[in-house]
Structures are given as structure tokens and as C-alpha cells.
Symmetry: C2
Subunit: 137 residues, 2 copies
DNA sequence: CTGTATCCTTAGGGATACTG
DNA sequence: CAGTATCCCTAAGGATACAG
């Protein structure tokens, strides 16, 4: 596997964050983990956006290297790997929530669960707290 | 100039948002407009990250096409152009704030104004409101 | 099932020169 | 000053095949 230099452009929090997940795929993996409970390679491959296997492998490695996700053996099978959000990854919930809020305000788009859309409008803080609770267990 | 197809991958708000600003530069321009009051081509070129002229021109066009920024004549000079955030662009404030919050929590990074960093810790909502107020004028 | 590896094409982007 | 244009290289990414 190629080595990434992991050098950030500047000491700005925005540019540093973008150096890590400023691309078209990383946050989709995080989205699937947070909102759809996905946690295996096959799960991620199965998304509507059709991520390529090489890109998926690359991003999983990158996210693990940055401490955003962890890998562990899956209880179901020896070959299977279980990907889980670390606390650092869980802390991306508010970022995702704000991106969703913006997207839903300006485009005809929706999260797969209508309940979530409505709850978000009414009680964003409540949604965030619930997600934290579910993922921290 | 090349035509961008502007077709979004899916109807997911996250993937749609990433189709627009899921790259290493777009949000840096927005950052500079929100937090540093930048609004001319030369201002943007002047950032620490050293964006290339062709990339800057491309992103300004993209952001304008998406209705996130607007262009107008600059009062100072006929040649100069004034870029300003639209309401849609201003609504990216919460996204940036959450990205900054996450970045500052996990990396040794800082926004150029220390006051902002401290205020963010104590009163995130207040900071957001102030920024909205300043930019909506 | 979880990846790697490979091939190939396109997009991103740095450097620089140039124009209205 | 605000871009365009060009050159050229690298990174991103799609498709497919293959391996443990």
C-alpha cells in the first residue's frame, strides 16, 4: 500500500480537516456508519453511490490511520472485519448533521428515513444526542 | 471554460453537498469570506494555502453557478470584482463551525484569531449568530 | 467476504505566461 | 487586477481480475 505523507497544509482547522476528509467519498463512509449502522466492507460497497473497491480500501485505511475508525474481527466470521467509529469519528456527527441540514434546505434531497428529516427540522440537538448515545454504546 | 455537468450522484443530502464542495479548496474560499471578510480575487490568492489561479477561478465559477456566492462590480475599481456570499453561502456558517470545532479538538490547529477559538468553546451559538448578523448586512 | 493488484482514463492541480 | 491559457504531472477514480 502506498504511504501517505500525512502532512497538513497549514495549521488552520478547516484546511487540516479538508486534508483528511475533503473528498467525495470519505464522509459517505462516515454517513453510512452513523446513520445506517454499516460496519463491514460489503456494507459500504452496497451504497447507492457505488464506490469502487480500490477507493473504499484506500479510504478505510486513511480513516483508520487518522484514528477516525477502528478495525476488529467480526464475531460472525474470521475473514470478516468490523469497522467501528472511534470517539473522534463519532464527533463528526455534528459536521454531518450541518451538511445534511444545508443540503436539505437547498436541494430536493432526503435522508433515507423520513422520520430523521422531520426530527432534524424540529429538534436538531435531540437528534445529535440520540446518535451519540447509540454509537457510544 | 469547461462545462461542468452539475449532475449529483444521488438524492442524498450528504453526497449532493460533497458533489459541490467536497474538495480541498472550495470551503477554504468560503472560510476566507466568512471569517476573514475577504471578497476579491486577490484576497483569496493571498491565503496561506496558496491556491493556484486556475483552481481559484474554477471554484469561484462553480460556487457562483451553485448560487453560493455572487459577483458584482467593486466600488473601488472597474476591473475589480466583489464576491459576496449569498444567503445560501451564509448558511454554510454552521458547517464551517462544526468542522472547526472538530479540527481544534483533535489537532494542534487554530483559527487566526485567538478570541474566536475561545468564544467558540464557550458559546458556539453566540458566535454563529454574530457571524450571521455581520454577513447579512 | 475482504480485500489487492492492475490497467486505464479523467480530474485535480502546480507553475508560468499572457491578456483586457 | 482579474482572470485565461497552456503545459505537464500527479491524484482520483472506474472496471475488472485475482488472492487469502
Amino acid at each position: 500500500m502506498k504511504e501517505k505523507k500525512s502532512i497538513y497544509r497549514t495549521d488552520c482547522p478547516v484546511s487540516t480537516a479538508l486534508d483528511i476528509y475533503g473528498d467525495k467519498w470519505s464522509l459517505l463512509i462516515i454517513r453510512d456508519m452513523i446513520f445506517k449502522g454499516k460496519n463491514t466492507y460489503g456494507d459500504f460497497l452496497d451504497s447507492k453511490e457505488n464506490i469502487a473497491t480500490n477507493i473504499l480500501a484506500d479510504r478505510l485505511a486513511l480513516l483508520e490511520r487518522e484514528g477516525i475508525i477502528s478495525r476488529a474481527k467480526h464475531p460472525d466470521s474470521k475473514a470478516k472485519i468490523l469497522y467501528q467509529l472511534t470517539d473522534k469519528g463519532i464527533d463528526l456527527i455534528p459536521v454531518l448533521i450541518e451538511i445534511i441540514t444545508w443540503g436539505e434546505k437547498y436541494y430536493d434531497v432526503h435522508m433515507p428515513f423520513k422520520k430523521l428529516d422531520k426530527k432534524l427540522e424540529k429538534d436538531k440537538e435531540g437528534v445529535i444526542k440520540k446518535l451519540y448515545k447509540r454509537l457510544r454504546k
